[in-house]
Symmetry: C2
Subunit: 258 residues, 2 copies
C-alpha cells in the first residue's frame, strides 16, 4: 500500500514491525535479496508471516517511480507491520502483515563520521536488538545525544558496556592489519553491509574477528569505520575527541563492496 | 486528528512517540490530569513539545463519541508522535507533534492474573524504560512469551535481573503487612495507577517500599498484584507455577483507588 495508514496499525501503536532501507542506484535495488532475506528472518524471530518477495519488490519499485527517483541515488524503505488489531499487546490469532514503501533521495555523505559514545545502551537482552524494528526510539535518542555532543553518529554499547553498533550503522575497527566488529550477540544489528564487508575481507585475505570488546580496545586501533546500506563503508575521523587517520584497508573494503 | 496517518509519521517509522491509555467510565476520563502530566513529562524526556491539554482531552472525548462508548466502560488511547519528517533518525529542527485518539470497549478482567517471567528484559539503560513509548516491541514479545507459557501476563526483569514491571502493568507484592514495588530506576514504567496505589497505601497507614529486588524475594511474599489504568488492582493467582491466595490488603487497596 502507498496511501495513508489506519491508526490501529500495530506498527504505529506499538512499534510491532520491521523495516529495510535499500540503496537504489538509478532504479537498481542494491542487494535486494539480502535485504528481503533479513526481513524474512526478522519476521520469523517476531512470529510474523514473511512477505511475498515479489510484492515487496513491486512496492519498492512503485515508491521509487512515484517519487521520481528511478534515475538517481535513492533510499527505498520497506516497512512491514504486524497489521491491525488484537487486544492491547496481544496480536490477533493470525496477524495479517501490512507493507508500506517510501523513497527519498540519498546523497552519499562526503565527510567521514564523527562519533560520540551514547549513554543509551542497546538492549542485548532482547531479540529485537539484532533486528531492524519499528521500535527504534533508543536509536533516535542515541543519535540525538551524539548531535548534542557535536558528533554526527552515536556509538552504542550494550548493557554490559561492550560495543554493539552505531545508531544507524555497524562499526568495524582495524588493528595490526586485522578487521574486528562486535559479534551479533553483543546486541549488534545484523547489517546487510556488515555481512558484505566481512565476506569481502575474507576474499581479500584479511583476518576477520566478530568479537566482544569494550571501547578501551580502540586505544590500539589504527582505524574505525561504519557500514550501512546507504553509506557503504564510511571512515570515522573522530570518536569522543580522539582522531583517526584514513586507512588503506578501509578504502580497499569500500572499493570491494561498491 | 482522527483520520488516517501519513506513512512518514515518525511514530510509525521509528516508534518515536508516546501514548496514554485512559480509563473512561460512562464518558468520564478517569485520572486524566495525571495521564496528561505523565505525557508532558515524557515529552520533556524525549525532547518533544508537550501537547495542549485541552486539545488532548477534546480528541479523547471525540474518539469516545465517535466509537459510541460514552455510556460504558472504555479505554481511550491518546498517541503522540514526533510528527513527520527529518532525515533518518534525526528529527526536524522543530518537530511538530501529531496527536491521534482512539477508543475501544474495555471490560474489567474477571479473573486474577497468571504471570510468567519473560526472557525479554527491560532496558533500564534507556530513559525510554520509564516511559510509555511507541517503541513497545519488547513488551509485545514478553507478552507473547507469557501466552506461550500458558500465562496471561509477563513479569519483566531488567538487564541485571531485578524485577521491573509486567508487560502492560506495574507489579506490587505484600510481605508482613508491608507493600513493595520496584523503584522506577529499575526500568519500571512510571504508572499512573502505581502512583495512586502508593498514595492510597500511605493514607491507609501501610508501609510502602520502592525497592530493587530479584524475583527470589517473592518466596516470602504473601500476595502479588498488578496495577494499570484499565484493571486498577488485579490480584496475581500464579507466578511461574507458584500459587498466591487472595489477600485482604490487595482488596483494600483496590477499593481505595476505585
Amino acid at each position: 500500500m502507498m496511501g495513508p495508514l489506519p491508526p490501529d496499525d500495530r506498527g504505529f501503536t506499538l512499534g510491532d514491525g520491521l523495516f529495510e532501507t535499500v540503496l537504489a542506484e538509478a532504479g537498481v535495488l542494491v542487494r535486494l535479496p539480502a535485504h528481503l532475506a533479513r526481513l524474512a528472518a526478522g519476521c520469523e524471530a517476531l512470529g510474523l508471516p514473511a512477505p511475498d518477495p515479489a510484492e515487496a519488490e513491486g512496492l519498492l519499485r512503485e515508491a521509487l517511480t512515484h517519487a521520481g527517483l528511478t534515475d538517481t541515488r535513492a533510499a527505498a524503505r520497506l516497512t512491514l507491520t504486524a497489521g491491525s488489531g488484537g487486544r492491547g499487546l496481544d496480536r490477533p490469532a493470525a496477524p495479517v502483515i501490512r507493507l508500506v514503501a517510501t523513497a527519498a533521495a540519498a546523497r552519499r555523505p562526503a565527510d567521514p563520521a564523527r562519533l560520540a559514545t551514547s549513554a543509551v545502551r542497546r538492549n542485548d537482552a532482547s531479540p529485537a536488538s539484532r533486528l531492524k524494528t519499528l521500535s527504534y526510539l533508543d536509536n533516535v535518542l542515541a543519535r540525538a545525544q551524539a548531535r548534542e555532543a557535536g558528533a554526527d553518529e552515536a556509538l552504542m554499547l550494550n548493557t554490559t558496556g561492550e560495543m554493539a553498533c552505531a545508531a544507524a550503522a555497524n562499526v568495524f575497527w582495524i588493528e595490526g592489519g586485522r578487521l574486528f566488529t562486535p559479534a551479533l550477540d553483543c546486541g549488534a544489528l545484523a547489517g546487510v553491509t556488515r555481512a558484505e564487508v566481512l565476506a569481502a575481507a575474507a576474499r581479500l585475505g584479511i583476518s576477520t574477528h566478530q568479537t566482544r570488546a569494550t571501547p578501551e580496545v580502540l586505544a590500539n586501533a589504527e582505524a574505525v569505520f561504519l557500514t550501512n546500506a546507504l553509506v557503504g563503508v564510511r571512515p570515522v575521523v573522530e570518536l569522543d575527541g580522539r582522531g583517526f587517520a584514513p586507512h588503506a584497508l578501509s578504502a580497499a573494503l569500500a572499493a570491494a563492496i561498491s
